[in-house]
């Protein structure tokens, strides 16, 4: 183990990723894809960058994995300046990209084996690690198959296995479950949680709020290249200052209904229209449904449907930006 091969950033030994005013302006663009980002991710964290497409998440991950050259600022992974020493930094980062980048000319086993060799393992060591990983990721019976034979979920598992093959200090995952069916998505979440339980630091980008909510220790909500909020999922949801979201669907003048409910139901902080109907953000929740129904009916509205939910990261995003995450 070599401790000082490159100039390292000063700072906490437990900080695995650190960015200082990290900024990216793409050639020909008149806006900052990433705008003076200051980020610090600790060892053992699953850290999520949550935001709509174009928020700057992938660009941020790209800069940290040496593929995107920052316009200004600095980025350190495990203490190594990734801009100044990209080849050195690549020794201890693992990357799972959005698309399938498996080697189509190699078998499933060989995809792992040659990755090990690429990272300097001996033939014996690489073969042993490849076999173990195939077992652990339940791909052993596909070992000799072509990667064309794998389903989307299996290909994704193989890519994760490959990315952690060389025990990276950080695993970067760009939209890891985009395009996966729900079952494969849950399976992948399990794998990531297991890896994290074993101490693997993971940085993932996602626009699925459930993914950020379920998986991440901390989440940074990004839009237009900036971090709008950064906390644990629970902390973020608390920050909105509401306890319940009631969605009401009723025929009639929606503006009048909104007005009626906002004035008539105690604790309503905000009413907004969504695809599902009217969404009431409510603080305090005693006998809430009964009060909403009574108020609506007193106002002459007949409620067709009513549902209750807790605030989600979606709510946080809407509160911060005024727009929905999923619309983007």
């Amino acid at each position: 183990m070599v401790a000082s091969l490159a100039p390292t950033s000063s700072g906490d030994a437990d900080t695995v990723i650190r960015t200082v005013n990290l900024t990216k302006v793409y050639a020909g663009a008149d806006f900052r894809a990433v705008d003076e980002l200051n980020l610090s991710v600790g060892a053992g964290e699953i850290f999520g960058l949550l935001g709509p497409n174009g928020a700057g998440k992938t660009t941020t991950a790209g800069m940290l994995t040496t593929r995107v050259i920052p316009t200004s600022g600095a980025a350190f992974v495990a203490g190594v300046d990734v801009v100044a020493h990209p080849a050195l930094a690549k020794q201890f980062i693992g990357v799972v990209s959005q698309t399938n980048t498996l080697d189509r000319q190699l078998s499933v086993f060989e995809n792992l084996y040659y990755h090990g060799r690429l990272f300097g393992m001996s033939a014996h060591e690489s073969r042993a690690t490849a076999s173990r990983l195939l077992d652990q990721f339940q791909l052993a019976k596909w070992a000799t198959a072509s990667v064309y034979a794998l389903s989307g979920g299996m290909a994704q598992r193989l890519m994760v296995a490959r990315s952690i093959f060389h025990s990276p200090a950080v695993l970067f995952m760009d939209e890891p479950t985009a395009g996966l069916d729900p079952q494969s998505r849950l399976a992948l979440w399990d794998i990531l949680q297991q890896l994290n339980g074993d101490g693997q630091t993971i940085l993932l980008t996602t626009h699925y709020m459930e993914e950020a909510d379920q998986l991440c220790d901390r989440v940074a909500i990004m839009d237009h290249g900036k971090i709008l909020a950064l906390d644990t999922p629970t902390g973020l949801k608390k920050s909105v200052g509401i306890d319940t979201i009631v969605t009401v669907r009723a025929a009639g003048d929606q503006r009048l209904l909104a007005d009626t409910l906002e004035k008539g139901v105690e604790g309503v902080t905000k009413v907004r229209r969504s695809d599902a109907g009217l969404e009431l953000h409510v603080r305090g929740g005693d006998r809430l449904l009964a009060r909403v129904i009574a108020t609506a009916e007193t106002g002459g509205f007949e409620i067709a449907d009513i549902s209750v939910a807790e605030p989600s990261l979606e709510t946080v995003f809407i509160n911060l930006t005024g727009k929905e995450l999923r619309d983007q």
């Binding site: 399938n100 990272f119 025990s167 074993d198 101490g199």
Partner: protein, 291 residues
């Protein structure tokens, strides 16, 4: 150095920070990339051989067997046997070029295009230019192998009496053939990084075909002199930009005793093409990979 398992006994084993110097990591990565290419080549070796020999075989078959049989005149005043000698060297040259295009350009266009494999390859713990250079090395080695396969075929497929006169000049052969292979591999890098995968057809139509037909495969450069406007030998002048011309003239110097372009020209120009193509190809590669 630790060998951490990703699950199970992983805890406490994760190494934070680089394990090896950039140099030793890059050397290992280069070795592994080559190893991978050898594995793929070996797995498809029969196809590789077939792909390599089809064109040379057809060229020799048509020009050196069918044409003499049907009385179609080739070779002008020099006669058919002299033409065979000229053609055989050209066939080796053209095979080296096609190998460069096939193993570097097509491969790279595919990896940049629909498979996106390149995104993983450039995460190898080495400078990204090394990933591109490895492709050129690998393509050059495949060029060498094809030259070795093609020469005997080209010398055996012919009608009786239409025999190529092969005279091996070992010093030239051992230096010029590898140089030609590197130049054509580098050309492959330029093409593979310049054309979008969907435009590969265009690459063949507008680049490969002109290079092939105007690359001195079927004739020596000096024989083009009669093609002129006034006193300007326009064709002879234009084809000087064609790298294949120098490869073919060089092959003539290496394999035959027929007159060829002077080696004082062939060597430096091919070296210049290597440098130029590598510079351009690596610049393109970097631009395609980084943003």
């Amino acid at each position: 150095m630790t060998t951490a398992s990703p699950m199970g006994e992983h805890q406490g084993h994760i190494v934070v920070g680089p394990r090896r110097s950039s140099f030793s990591a890059s050397r290992a990565a280069l070795g592994a990339l080559m190893l991978r290419d050898v594995r793929v080549l070996w797995g498809d070796f029969a196809i590789f051989v077939l792909r390599t020999i089809v064109q040379p075989f057809l060229l020799c078959f048509v020009f050196l067997f069918v044409f003499p049989k049907i009385g179609q005149s080739v070779g002008g005043t020099g006669g058919e046997a002299a033409f065979a000698t000229v053609l055989v060297a050209g066939v080796v040259g053209i095979s080296i070029m096609f190998q460069g295009v096939q193993s570097v350009a097509l491969q790279m266009a595919q990896e940049f295009g629909y498979t996106r494999e390149i995104e993983d390859r450039v995460q190898a713990p080495c400078p990204i230019w090394l990933v591109a250079v490895e492709k050129v090395i690998s393509g050059s080695v495949q060029g060498l192998i094809s030259a070795a396969i093609v020469l005997p075929i080209a010398s055996f497929v012919h009608a009786s009496g239409v025999e190529a006169q092969i005279n091996l000049h070992w010093l030239v052969l051992l230096t010029l053939v590898p140089l030609a292979c590197i130049a054509m591999g580098s050309l492959g890098l330029v093409l593979g990084t310049s054309f979008e995968p969907k435009n590969i057809g265009m690459m063949f139509g507008f680049v490969i075909l002109p290079i092939t037909f105007l690359g001195g495969t079927y004739y020596q450069w000096t024989r083009l002199a009669p093609v002129k406007i006034g006193s300007w030998h326009w064709l002879q002048t234009i084809v000087l930009v064609n790298p294949l011309l120098y490869v073919n003239e060089g092959m003539r110097a290496a394999f035959t005793n027929v007159p060829h372009m002077h080696l004082y020209i062939v060597y430096p120009v091919l070296i210049a093409f290597c440098v130029g193509f590598l510079w351009l190809g690596l610049r393109n590669f970097r631009r395609r990979v980084l943003s």
